[in-house]
Symmetry: C2
DNA sequence: CGACGCATTGATTGGATTCAACTAAGGTGG
DNA sequence: CCACCTTAGTTGAATCCAATCAATGCGTCG
């Protein structure tokens, strides 16, 4: 079941019936592999297909003329890469696979069709977009108004929380296949400064991190330090339940 | 017609028929006024009503324990304040009126009803959310990887573009009812540094700004300097048109 | 092994902050 | 209608966090 990630995610927002699950399965049945460090889709492309991460880590990023890169999201299984390209016509940024990725290629006309006929699915997808927005706002606050130490800690808390939600955390240990360079591009810091910051986090006994494996040794202390409040990730089915 | 802003905005995404326009009119008929500097909705609230800006400027912001504030969006007529609160249950940040604002109080259950029955409206609202996301990503890039000078220039370009879209720019002059403190909280700078930056922009003959009126004296030079590419705001009806 | 990518460490520089004082503009009340 | 007060904007000097530049260590893989 390669696409279960999406179905699991949308199930949080809506009760999907068998027909809807089947439609989603069909929609995401064309799964291809992208090698690490390869773009899944690049700035300027006018995608015929939408892309959905089924397995692996990817990053949404924008390059500036001066060579600087800003990562605006880490994409985990169940996340769409380019829903907005539907609107903008062409990509205004790129998506790169950080690990080898299994990516579902979704026909945009099929999705368009589906969203004209299945309002529950449309709402579920919309809510996914709202959640993405909440995460973006959290990043903006983090990068804008927290110093490097708390900033990196906050990002690690978010990753820990999101990975927990999709069942990829075991005993507070998780794969973090992200270089310090990439952490820097996500937090608006340099790799050098990320390095020093991680060392402080290690020295303070908050985390262990080596060989792409992160262990959060003291979750509550890390959250406290980072002022992390995971509410913005805690989506509920409030509206759906209340009707 | 106090709510025309929303209808005008959604019309970009979808062809609204008379019934849908009437439903939206009904939905947004309860318009109240919020004084400048007052919160329209505050962090922690569990809103029964959604809020839609009909007139005036507002800002989405988050306070940190250390007293720092990050503004994550400027809200203009037609923008929703708290669609995501539907999901999160409670607000994880606040919205403040920067000017006296006319705000439509929208019944969330009515909206919920509407989106179960009118798929075109749901899609249009969804696309509005996707646009919000595109703006957020642009801010993240701007604040993360541009220096103060280009950063402030980029924000001014975006405001100029958005105000143009809703017909509030005349001869490259527009109301900018935002203090330097607020510009700082939006760009992740201090008011003092914003001040110095604005002075450089004035000295370079790019803008005039006084008494809450901004005049962009050389639009293309400002855009070039800011590396501003407005594509991310250029929403089209690509999908809707292609079916 | 050799080469490459990634992580680490040190020395120096610089953009933005901080702190503080001061000016200008607007609003209010006596 | 002016005195007073508040808010926003301006300027200068000192400080600091993170960037930059550069060198080195280390593990992995062809």
């Amino acid at each position: 079941m390669p696409t279960s990630a999406l179905i699991r995610k949308l199930s949080i927002f809506a009760d999907l019936n068998d027909e809807e699950v089947a439609l989603l399965d069909d929609l995401t049945s064309d799964v291809r592999t992208t090698a690490a460090k390869r773009d899944i889709i690049s700035e300027g492309e006018r995608p015929e297909w939408l892309h959905l991460i089924c397995e692996g880590w990817a990053a949404r990023y924008k390059m500036l003329p001066n060579g600087a890169r800003q990562i605006t999201a880490f994409l985990l299984p169940g996340d769409f890469c380019d829903l907005h390209a539907t609107l903008l016509g062409k990509m205004d940024h790129s998506i790169v696979a950080l690990t080898p990725c299994k990516v579902a290629w979704v026909s945009s006309s099929k999705l368009d069709q589906l969203t004209t006929t299945h309002v529950d699915l449309t709402r579920a997808l919309w809510w996914g977009t709202l959640l993405d927005g909440a995460i973006l706002r959290a990043w903006l606050v983090n990068n804008g108004r927290r110093e490097a130490f708390e900033r990196v800690a906050h990002l690690l808390c978010e990753i820990h929380a999101r990975m927990t939600m999709i069942g990829l955390v075991d005993d507070d240990r998780l794969d973090l296949p992200v270089t310090q360079e990439e952490l820097g591009d996500a937090t608006g810091l340099t790799a050098v400064h990320v390095n020093r910051t991680l060392q402080r986090l290690r020295a303070d006994g908050l985390i262990e991190l080596s060989r792409r494996v992160l262990t959060v040794k003291d979750v509550s202390a890390l959250k406290r330090l980072a002022q992390f409040d995971g509410t913005y990730l805690q989506i509920t089915r409030r509206v759906a339940a209340s009707r």
